[in-house]
Symmetry: C2
Subunit: 404 residues, 2 copies
């Protein structure tokens, strides 16, 4: 089951409901990142409580550990990780990128921000700059960052792996180009990704579970004509919805351009996911341009280092280790209904981070995820009421909206 219904629009922004076999997702929605079958530091019960609607895990990481067969043996990823709500998996395309060309170029999704490996930089023992990946027409060879073992992904086996995982929304294998790749390479990677998309759909018709849906991924780097071409091509296949992947350019402005070139060329009635983006400002800019869902490690990763999301602070962030919170006996956010804000003070959280107590991560992650859900709820309401612009202004993003 996969149904997407738009309830209201506000300019290009829309609010609606995405129905999966494991429940509904009210959009625009933040997708919590549970790369390795766990949202780091919290339990599914915490997630339900803060209002998390959907989690994204990672095919590449789960293939390496614990392996899709073990997860299938557990009854699928939902049962394995104890999450009965909607669940999606990224294909591993971005990991090809970050261990391959991204590593060669030393860049990430947006050239200036290098995405670390999820908490396991120490495990990556290869010489920096050496690609662990070889792409050919049929698929991609890569070396496990865990133990150096060799693996191969093809458009077909990536679908088979995700069929075993049993996640509700799955993604095809794609090749992510780096912001530093030239036009020529970006074209050839995009065209290969398109051929892989067709093969993925074919494989999905064979291996996909009845409850699963496959999204198409739009590539094309930061080139206007390529993004349009890719959006049009992917739109014409039989995908249930779309994900915007790959290089988003060298600046936030480039990212906005990529969205402007891509989204209008996707069918109105199908959902649009933006891969790996989820800072507050970026969410507003993407929602405004018609994106429905986002996933990003940022809220949970920031939580683990004591950066707490809090409305009204610079960039809506509060660095709890700052000494001015030493005797601050107020909650992180006074009006936040999360367990952390209802029971603990900034002074206590600062103490826990300062003393490196593991509970710090639990409490901070609960709050940051609660913050994201409350933000998304405000965004959904503002679209329904037709005042998204005012909400953005209230959050301090009016100049950005007009200017960049």
């Amino acid at each position: 089951m996969f149904r997407f219904e738009i309830k209201a629009t506000c300019g290009s922004a829309r609010t609606g409901v995405l129905a999966t076999s494991h429940g509904e997702v009210h959009t625009p929605a933040f997708v919590a990142v549970g790369t390795l079958a766990s949202v780091k530091g919290v339990t599914p019960r915490h997630l339900k409580e803060v209002g998390t609607q959907i989690i994204i895990a990672n095919t590449y990481h789960l293939h390496l550990q614990p392996g899709e067969d073990l997860v299938e043996g557990a009854g699928g990823l939902h049962r394995f990780m104890g999450w009965d709500g909607p669940l999606m998996t990224d294909s591993g395309g971005f990991q090809i990128f970050s261990h391959g060309a991204g590593k060669e170029h030393g860049v990430g999704k947006i050239a200036s921000i290098f995405p670390e490996e999820p908490d396991r930089g120490g495990h990556l023992r290869k010489k920096p700059g050496k690609s662990l990946v070889t792409v050919d027409e049929d698929g991609v060879d890569f070396i496990s960052y865990l133990d150096g073992s060799r693996h191969r992904f093809t458009p077909e086996n990536v679908i088979e792996i995700q069929a075993k995982l049993g996640t509700d929304i799955i993604l095809p294998l794609d090749e992510c180009t780096s912001p530093l790749h030239g036009r020529e390479y970006t074209i050839s990677a995009m065209e290969r990704t398109h051929r892989w998309a067709v093969r993925a759909l074919e494989a999905f018709s064979k291996y996909g579970k009845p409850h699963q849906s496959l999204l198409g991924i739009v590539q094309g780097g930061a080139f206007e004509d390529l993004r349009k071409e890719s959006a049009e091509f992917v739109s014409q296949q039989g995908f249930s919805g779309f994900a915007i992947g790959g290089s988003l350019g060298k600046s936030k402005r480039d990212m906005h351009n990529v969205l402007d070139w891509t989204v209008p060329n996707l069918p109105q009635q199908k959902p649009r996911h933006l891969l790996g983006i989820g800072e507050v400002e970026d969410i507003f800019e993407a929602v405004k341009r018609g994106v429905d869902t986002f996933d990003c490690v940022s809220p949970t990763r920031m939580a683990r280092t004591g950066t707490l999301l809090s409305y009204g602070h610079p960039r809506h962030r509060l660095h709890i280790l700052n000494s001015r919170f030493r005797r601050d006996y107020s909650p992180v956010e006074p009006d936040c209904p999360c367990y952390t804000c209802r029971n603990f003070t900034r002074a206590y959280l600062r103490h826990l981070f300062s003393a490196r107590e593991p509970t710090a991560i639990v409490l901070a992650t609960i709050h940051n995820l609660s913050f994201m859900e409350r933000l998304m709820e405000q965004i959904r309401l503002s679209i329904a009421r037709g005042n998204l612009e005012q909400l953005m202004k209230r959050w301090g993003f009016d100049s950005l909206h007009n200017g960049t």
Copy 2:
């Protein structure tokens, strides 16, 4: 308020209720360790759910960070850490020991087991073997393991600090001798501890909060006459109950002897706490000898390295990283009602530990604490029913009971 009522006995073992201003503790009880105002990896809500009745924090650690004034400003330790149940604090005597003579001798409470500092070995940058502590008649000077700053504890200020923390059950400053200390030093330390006990009671009458109770600490190392002397001396002061501290000898057998020499010389009607002991076997042996409460880092510390308590496994422990749990889709303990066992499999926990996911610690700690509560509940019931011996036999401790 502090009331202790014995409900039933079985040999020297007893079961009863310890009533504090923050609630009742059914004894024998396991006291969860929350050294730095947090039980590592879990929240007070998790603790309530598994049935934790009482937590012990540490005066020494909280004095160094965040400081008792900051905790007092928060409204006391209960409010600071969000725990409204009974709360006790150890005085810091053991820390004098482990940073002082224990460090010189390279030994802990029982000579063969060196108690690590709580998760912060890396912070202890002093040359191993060099004592950070100087004891004199009036008190003790020590250097912070955090920043090298100088501090002084006296019997009086340790009471003042705990008055600020506002914990329900507090302990006087004592000097813990090492199992390798000779008789002569053990005598002089014990006698000083006795003089400090008198001063602590005096200070308590001045600074203690109405809801607080002060326990006396029995010292005397592994010497029969000294333990008796100490128990008798401490019994004659005005303490609300007693704690058995210091060196428990060089083996489990020595520990049993220390209890045999100590407990019968304490008043029947007052509660007895055994400091820093809490492995399953030790709990049975201590309960059998009339101990009412225990605290120990072992269940929570083991949880953090993937050692899960599970009835019937060797030593009732299961090392989740063992490859035989790779595809074990059963819970850690099939009959355990904890959140972890109700929702997750051994295979999943093994995956989380293997992938170093922080949620591993949360789930493992919940289970180990639940295990301890269920064990204590069984012990309480067996005492009430007069069949503690049978329970010990069922847990595989009959030979130990008869032999060592």
